[in-house]
C-alpha cells in the first residue's frame, strides 16, 4: 500500500518541520551533517525487505505509524525534567538516564567522574569539547548505507557523550538507562558518542526500558572510538514491552592492540533490531561480539553483525544465541569482511538457536568475504529443537522434565551471559534469564527504576 517514497515522505516532512528546532540546540558541527544525511536518506528511504540487511525484518508496522511526538522535548518536558529523578540502580555503577532520548536535567548536563572521565548530554558537550566532537562525530558511521542511520544523523537531537581520557581506568562501570515513558506514541532518535583514548579501560552498560504501554519506536546510533591498547566492553540489556520497537546501530572503531567486546541481551521487546559494526582499524586489535535473545508471542529480534578486518593480525569472535517460543521470529546475519592486506586474521562466528514450537521461525545467514590469503576463519549455525539426549540425561538423574528443560535453556543462554565481566550484572542477567524462561515477568527486579 505504502510505496517507498510515501514511506519516506513522512520522515522528510518531519525533517522540514523540525529541523529548525533541532538545530537550535545542537552544535554547528553536528548540524553540518544533517542536510547531506537527509538527502542521502531521500535516495535510500526506510529499509524494506528488499534491502539485503533487512531481509528478515519487516519495519512497516512501526514506521508507517503516526507518532504524536518526535525527537524534541517541549518546554513542559524540561520543567518536568527538573523534578525528575531516577533511582536507577543498586548496581555499583555511575548512572545516567536518558529520557525519551534526551537528557532529563537542566543543570549538570555534563559532569566529571573519577579519572578525568566526562559524561553528559551530547548537545551540551559539543560546545565544551568541540575539538573532540569534530575529531570523532560522524566518522565511524561514515560510508554506511543504512537509511535509518542516515535518518538518525539528520534528526538526532541529543544523547550521551562519554569521554575517557588517555590512561584512565574506571573500575565501576558506567550505566546508561534509556527510558521511554509517555502518554503519547513516541518516536525518538538519540545519538551517543563514546570516546575511549589510548591505554584506557572501561565498561559501559546500556539498559533499554519502556515505562508506559504506548507505541514506541526508537532509532538509536552509538559511535564508539577505542584507542590504542585500550579495553572497552559494552553490554546492552533490552527489556521493553511488546508494543515497542528498538532499532540500534552501534559502530565500534578500534585502534591497534585494543580490545573491545559487545554483548546484546534482549530479554523482551516487540521488534528489536541491533546492528553492531566492528571495525578493526589497527594491527593486533581484537573484538568479541555476543548476543542473546529470548523471544515469545509475536516478538521479532534481528541481530546484524559486521566485523571488518582492515589490518593484519586481528582477531574476532562472534557468538549469538536465540531461544524462540510461540510464534516469535528471529534473524541473525553475521558478516565478516577481511580486507586484502589483513594477513594473519582469525575470525570466528557461531550462531545457535532453539525453537520451542513449530510456529517459531529463525533465519540465519553467515556472510564471509575474504580478500587476504593468510586467514583462519570459521562459522557455524544451528537452528533446532531442544537436545533430547541432554533432556533424558538430566531426567535420568531425577530431575523433572520441566526443570530439565529450564536447565537446558538456561545453560544454552548462560554461554553468552558468562562473558559479562561485571560479576553483579552477570548474576543479575542469569536471574533475569531464568525468570524469563520460567515465564515470570522479568522486570529488571533489583534494578527497579524509581522515577518521580
Amino acid at each position: 500500500m505504502n510505496n517507498q517514497s510515501e514511506r519516506s515522505e513522512r520522515y522528510l516532512k518531519l525533517y522540514r518541520e523540525n529541523i529548525g528546532r533541532i538545530s537550535l540546540s545542537s552544535s554547528p558541527y553536528i548540524n553540518s551533517f544533517r542536510q547531506r544525511a537527509i538527502e542521502e536518506f531521500e535516495k535510500l528511504g526506510i529499509p524494506t525487505r528488499k534491502n539485503e540487511t533487512y531481509r528478515y525484518t519487516n519495519l512497516d508496522t512501526f514506521f508507517n505509524h503516526d507518532y504524536n511526538t518526535y525527537f524534541m522535548p517541549g518546554e513542559a518536558d524540561f520543567i518536568k525534567a527538573e523534578e525528575f529523578r531516577c533511582d536507577v540502580t543498586d548496581l555499583d555503577a555511575h548512572g545516567v538516564v536518558l529520557m525519551n532520548g534526551f537528557y532529563p536535567t537542566i543543570r549538570d548536563k555534563v559532569r566529571q567522574l573519577p579519572g578525568g572521565i566526562w559524561i553528559g548530554s551530547l548537545n551540551e558537550a559539543s560546545a565544551k569539547f568541540s575539538d573532540l566532537i569534530e575529531k570523532h562525530y560522524g566518522k565511524y558511521v561514515n560510508g554506511n548505507s543504512d537509511g535509518l542511520v542516515l535518518l538518525n544523523t539528520a534528526l538526532a537531537s541529543d544523547g550521551v557523550f562519554l569521554y575517557v581520557p588517555e590512561g584512565a581506568v574506571l573500575k565501576k562501570p558506567i550505566q546508561i538507562v534509556n527510558l521511554v515513558d509517555s502518554q503519547d506514541d513516541i518516536f525518538n532518535q538519540h545519538r551517543n558518542l563514546i570516546i575511549v583514548e589510548k591505554n584506557a579501560d572501561m565498561t559501559l552498560i546500556i539498559c533499554d526500558h519502556t515505562l508506559s504501554p504506548r507505541k514506541f519506536l526508537t532509532n538509536a546510533v552509538t559511535e564508539i572510538y577505542v584507542g590504542e591498547n585500550s579495553h572497552f566492553d559494552i553490554i546492552r540489556v533490552q527489556n521493553e514491552h511488546n508494543n515497542a520497537a528498538k532499532i540500534t546501530h552501534t559502530f565500534i572503531y578500534q585502534e591497534r592492540n585494543s580490545f573491545a567486546s559487545s554483548n546484546n541481551i534482549t530479554l523482551h521487546g516487540g521488534l528489536v533490531r541491533n546492528s553492531t559494526h566492528h571495525y578493526l582499524g589497527g594491527e593486533g586489535a581484537e573484538c568479541n561480539s555476543y548476543g542473546l535473545f529470548l523471544a515469545d508471542k509475536f516478538q521479532h529480534v534481528d541481530n546484524y553483525v559486521n566485523v571488518s578486518h582492515a589490518f593484519p593480525k586481528c582477531t574476532s569472535n562472534q557468538l549469538f544465541k536465540g531461544v524462540l517460543d510461540d510464534m516469535s521470529t528471529g534473524a541473525f546475519n553475521g558478516r565478516i569482511f577481511v580486507h586484502k592486506d589483513a594477513q594473519g586474521t582469525s575470525a570466528y562466528q557461531k550462531n545457535n538457536n532453539i525453537l520451542l514450537t513449530d510456529d517459531a521461525k529463525m533465519d540465519t545467514k553467515p556472510q564471509l568475504e575474504i580478500y587476504a590469503d593468510d586467514v583462519k576463519c570459521s562459522h557455524g549455525a544451528t537452528v533446532g529443537q531442544m537436545d533430547e539426549n541432554a533432556l533424558f540425561y538430566l531426567r535420568s538423574r531425577g530431575i523433572s522434565k520441566r526443570e530439565a528443560r529450564l536447565m537446558l535453556m538456561f545453560g544454552f543462554a548462560h554461554e553468552v551471559i558468562q562473558n559479562i565481566q561485571v560479576e553483579a550484572l552477570r548474576e543479575r542477567m542469569d536471574n533475569l534469564v531464568m525468570q524469563r524462561l520460567k515465564g515470570e515477568l522479568s522486570r529488571c527486579a533489583s534494578c527497579i527504576v524509581k522515577c518521580g
Partner: protein, 253 residues
C-alpha cells in the same frame, strides 16, 4: 528387586528385544555381555525410562511396581541409576547446579528438606574423593571438555551422589585405560552395599576382574541365550562369541 518378564521391544518397527526374562535380587551383581547390536544398550535405556522405543509385550517390575509406567525422573528417584555409555555434554549447566538439583529432587521424593549449601558442598567433596575425580571438574559445565575417562568417572561420581538401589552401568569400561578402569571399578565396589544391586553391561571380561558378578548373561540378537556363573565370562574371553552365536542359531533351527 527387578523382574523382567518376556520383554519385547521395537524401535521404528524393528524388533530389538525379542523376549527378555531376567530377575535381579537385592544384593546381586549381574553382568550382561554379548556382541555389538545384541540389544544390551537398548535394554539399559528401556530400564532407565528413555522414550524412544515401543514396548510390544512383557512386563518389568521394580520393587513391586510397574516400572514401564514411570517417567524417567521417577525411576531415578526410586533408586534406578543408568551410567551412560556416552555421557552427554551440557554446556552452560554447571556440575554443581546439576547435582544440587538432582540430589534435592531425590530428597524431596523421600520427604526430606533440601540440603543447605554447605552440607551439599561437603557431600560433593566426600564423593569426589571416593571416585578420585579432579576437584576442578565439578566447577565446570556437565561433561563439557571432559576426557573419555573423566566422563566415565563423572558417571560414577553422580552415582555416588545419588546412592541408587539398582545401578545399570552401560559399558562403563569402554574407552578407559587400565588406571581409569581400576578407579571406576573401585568406585562401584565402594558404593556397593549388601542390599543394592547392579547390572554391569560390558563387552569384555576385563571389568569383571574388578567387579565380580554373581550371574553372567549373554545377550544375542535380542534374547538371553546363556545364563551362568562368573566362569561364563572367562569362557567368553577365551573363546569369543562365535560359539554362542552358533549355538543360538542351532537352537533356532
Amino acid at each position: 528387586m527387578l523382574i523382567i518378564d518376556n520383554l519385547k521391544v521395537a524401535i521404528n518397527g524393528k524388533v530389538i528385544l525379542k523376549g527378555i526374562s531376567l530377575e535381579v535380587k537385592a544384593g546381586e551383581i549381574h553382568a550382561l555381555m554379548g556382541p555389538n547390536g545384541s540389544g544390551k544398550s537398548t535394554l539399559a535405556a528401556i530400564l532407565a525410562g528413555r522414550e524412544f522405543a515401543e514396548v510390544l509385550e512383557g512386563t518389568v517390575t521394580y520393587m513391586g511396581k510397574n516400572l514401564l509406567e514411570m517417567p524417567a525422573e521417577e525411576r531415578s528417584r526410586e533408586g534406578i541409576f543408568l551410567g551412560f555409555q556416552y555421557p552427554i555434554e551440557i554446556p552452560g549447566v554447571s556440575m554443581v547446579n546439576f547435582m544440587k538439583t538432582a540430589v534435592n529432587e531425590h530428597r524431596k521424593h523421600k520427604g526430606l528438606d533440601p540440603l543447605s549449601a554447605s552440607d551439599f558442598l561437603k557431600l560433593m567433596r566426600e564423593k569426589k574423593e571416593l571416585v578420585e575425580i579432579d576437584s576442578k571438574l565439578a566447577n565446570r559445565s556437565v561433561n563439557e571438555g571432559f576426557s573419555g575417562g573423566e566422563k566415565k568417572k563423572n558417571e560414577i561420581f553422580q552415582m555416588a551422589m545419588l546412592e541408587p538401589k539398582l545401578a545399570i552401568l552401560d559399558e562403563t569400561d569402554s574407552g578407559l585405560d587400565i588406571d581409569a578402569l581400576r578407579i571406576v571399578a573401585n568406585g562401584v565396589n565402594k558404593l556397593k552395599r549388601p542390599d543394592t544391586s547392579a547390572i554391569v553391561i560390558t563387552h569384555y571380561q576385563r571389568l569383571l576382574d574388578y567387579i565380580v558378578p554373581d550371574v553372567v548373561h549373554v545377550l544375542y540378537d535380542g534374547r538371553i541365550v546363556k545364563t551362568s556363573g562368573r566362569e561364563l565370562a572367562l569362557e567368553l574371553e577365551e573363546k569369543g562369541y562365535d560359539w554362542i552365536k552358533k549355538d543360538a542359531e542351532k537352537n533356532e533351527l
